[in-house]
Amino acid sequence: MAECIWFFAEERDGELRKVAYEAARTARRLADEAGTQAVGVLLGSGVTGLAEKLGCYGADKVFVVDDEAMKNYTADGYAEVTAKLVEEHKPAVLILAASVLGKDLSSRLAARLEVGLAMDCMELKIGDDKKLVAKRPIYAGKAMCECVPGGEPQMASIRPNVFPTGEPDESKKAEVVAVPLNVDPSLMKTKVVDIQKDTSGKIELTEAEIIVSGGRGMKGPENYTILEELAGVMGAAVGASRSAVDAGWRPHSDQVGQTGKVVSPNLYVACGISGAIQHLAGMSSSKVIVAINKDPEAPIFAKADYGIVADLFEAVPVMTEEMKKLKA
């Protein structure tokens, strides 16, 4: 079983997250390139039933630690449990999502295992010598770094929404291997004392397929309703520039950019956003970018696939109506 490509399957509230499927499919592809198996790790409480399904996304096998102590993610707990599994089975590669959980877990785990970790990758392949080769943005995407993480397993985390999940093959089931908790819970020092759900039912920016984002050009917090209407029709999340956040119009968690969230949706619609370098850092890996800005010289137009020079207060409501027609 050595040489396998492992992935970490992220779960929350009894459901696998989309990034778990992205990681599974990526591990499958790498395993095919390397001529080996794709193996998942799933930690949680009452999660055994989810494991089989990872087979639909390419997992041959899934190790499951299903225990009350694994109910909530804590860095020290999850890192130690995963490290023990890795030490026992010695995979060649371990892939995680570059989600909040995945970035945190992978960092602690890499130090625990004393191996190299390529964080937030945009591309992964198996090179000629069967080693994982990763490509990741540095300096907020102003350069790309191609690198080979050292040690065993080679570790990489993958940026959400970049690696395809592929269509699930419902006929495929993964072999499920139950593993008893391998770490004394009293050694896990971190406890979760509260979880506050965002009640707004908002789509999370880093996971959204479409983002409609507003900047200082929105002129005030009340005007975001026109973006919310457009987002509602398109099934999009609403983002913001730092200027809008600093003005108190939108919460910190909505900020896109170098000191906000890095997003890669299929479509990013920037409304009244000038396109400062720090904003571009957060959204230039979007597949299609649309800019609506009344200033034809705004730098955002240099990055946009489609630009509309117009007053957003005129353009956005028309777009909402057009999208409604399309969806009708």
Binding site: A79, Y139, K142, T190, V193, A315, V318, L326
Partner: protein
Amino acid sequence: MEIVACLKQVPDTETQIKIAGDNKSIESGDIKWVMNPYCEFGVEESLRLKEKFGGSVTVVSVGPARTVEALRTALAMGADKAVHVETDEALTPLATAKLLAAAVKDLNPDIIFCGQRAVDGDQAQVGQALAQYLGMPHVALGVKVEVAEDKSSVKVSQPTEGQTVVYEMPLPALVTAQKGLNEPRYASLPGIMKAKKKPMDKKSPADLGVSLESKMTILQLTPPPQRAAGKIIAGETVADKVVELVKLLREEAKIV
């Protein structure tokens, strides 16, 4: 309370990044260096804890000679002393974390702050690795930090996708700072004057007995994929333009 804030000096976020001739590093000639913005939140939180609980704040940084400027900024904000681990080498996160662990161990910190990531390599790894090496629990992306009155534990709020999780850890522990934690203060003029007299302890990796072995091979740096020049959509009226846009999104980009 013994409080430690780890900070890194990074290129100002406005900096244009040029890849150097070796294709493995960047040209460092015209860069304006500043304290990593996320580290500012960590320094600020350290100062606030000291104001509440007493004790001292030590700021620590690993980097070349210029790093002293970032440490001085933190001293001017109000930190008590600085430790500079001087090296010109480009280090991996693990090597940096080992140096930091060796540098802070004897301070017996109750709490350590790092930034959630440094905006140069965008690694988001050093804080977690440091906590692991020191055998401490950690919580990343803290936007609220509440140390218990008896200083035995800390509660940290962490925003994740669609929810905020509140963690509790016994001290000593490490927190990585996210935007929203606080508004960092500016260094005052008297602060800047005072900073000049505050202790700046210099150490080398050799003094700390740390091996800088790298677990990462850089093959090459490349410019980011260029986006093809886009279309400015023409039209008589705004409505015409938008109708055309939606058509293009559907028929050309096939995205809606």
